[in-house]
Amino acid sequence: MSRPEYLAPPEIFYNEEEARKYTHNSRIIEIQEQMCERAVELLALPENQPCYLLDLGCGSGLSGSVLEEQGHVWVGVDISKSMLDVATEREVEGDLLLGDMGQGCPFRAGTFDGAVSISALQWLCNADKTSHKPVKRLYKFFSTLYACLSRSARAVLQFYPENSDQMELLTQQAMKAGFYGGVVVDYPNSTKAKKFFLVLMTGGNMALPKALGTETASTGVSYISRQERLKNIRGKSLKKSRDWILEKKERRRRQGKEVRADSRYTGRKRSGRF
């Protein structure tokens, strides 16, 4: 499937028909909600406190519903009128605004405790009008977003980067605007479940949160020496060898028996003088 950004600008692509999909297609709904749940997790909000959040590219308010469930109050901004109409129909609790992220976030300083954005950021990388300059629009977006967040608040933006250049462009502009942070990639080894989250922090440089699905991912081929492999196959070490003695001592120690401490003389042959 070609990327929707190529087809038309967002305010035209998300027409009534496309907006309908976001209320009827259970697969789209499920994915959006999952991503939003993960984004809120990455926000690291104080526990059991209702927060005031900003949802950028809120669309039909699917992500907003997740925020509501967790007890937060939110404000959504989107460029597509049809999507917002669907959101009003769904009777979401959050307030909605029709606005273009590339023109800046129209809020006064220090308003929000956090910001989330699900699958919207990649739209900003395109120039849909002759007057659009993606780099400039991105900078404007990030700098006004930085301003409207309160101290130590985070912004988590899930997006679908087209290539590594785009990812670099986004991070670079965010850093230029004053943010700390970077991209967290969940399930990097899966084509389908792989998700990119741009985690931006305002209050100083902190370690990025750990990505999901990276536990089993090894960076290279593991290598076991030939000798060790043979040993593993055989199981026990050669009788009367140093290894065998050490293993036996260890076993007896585990059994709670009195065992002499290991030293460099352990398992060494007596000299001929004896």
Partner: protein, 124 residues
């Protein structure tokens, strides 16, 4: 649009506008709905509010009697006060009308409860 959102909105994205706050409201149609009262959230949001802007907004929508003139101290424990603020912030909803930038006079129409903050190319 709720008055809480209005209290946070500014028109500083417009070219040559420095503060762009507070936006004045022209109401054509508004409704009052019932929203669950969450005292914890209201107590957390009050320090972030611009009280004078809120007073002005309440005045403009014609609900002046709803709110005391000054922010009282120790509001966290005054449930009556929190309920009043809750009503003003979350239950009054502007359905149609417009927001006007205090510096340039540019108006942002509100249709179906959604303010249109889109700018023309020459205004950015």
């Amino acid at each position: 649009m709720k008055l809480l959102t209005h209290n946070m909105l500014s028109s500083k994205c417009l070219k040559n506008v420095n503060v762009g706050y507070p936006l004045s409201i022209k109401v054509e149609e508004m409704i009052t709905s019932v929203v669950d009262f969450n005292p914890e959230f209201i107590a957390r949001i009050i320090p972030k509010l611009e009280w004078n802007a809120l007073k002005q907004a309440v005045n403009e929508v014609g609900k002046d009697s709803c709110l005391p003139n000054n922010l009282i101290e120790n509001f966290e424990n005054d449930e009556d006060f929190l309920k009043k603020v809750h009503h003003v912030l979350l239950e009054i909803e502007i359905v149609n009308g417009c927001l006007v930038c205090p510096e340039t006079g540019r108006s942002f129409p509100i249709n179906n409860g959604i303010p249109n903050m889109l700018l023309n190319e020459d205004e950015v």
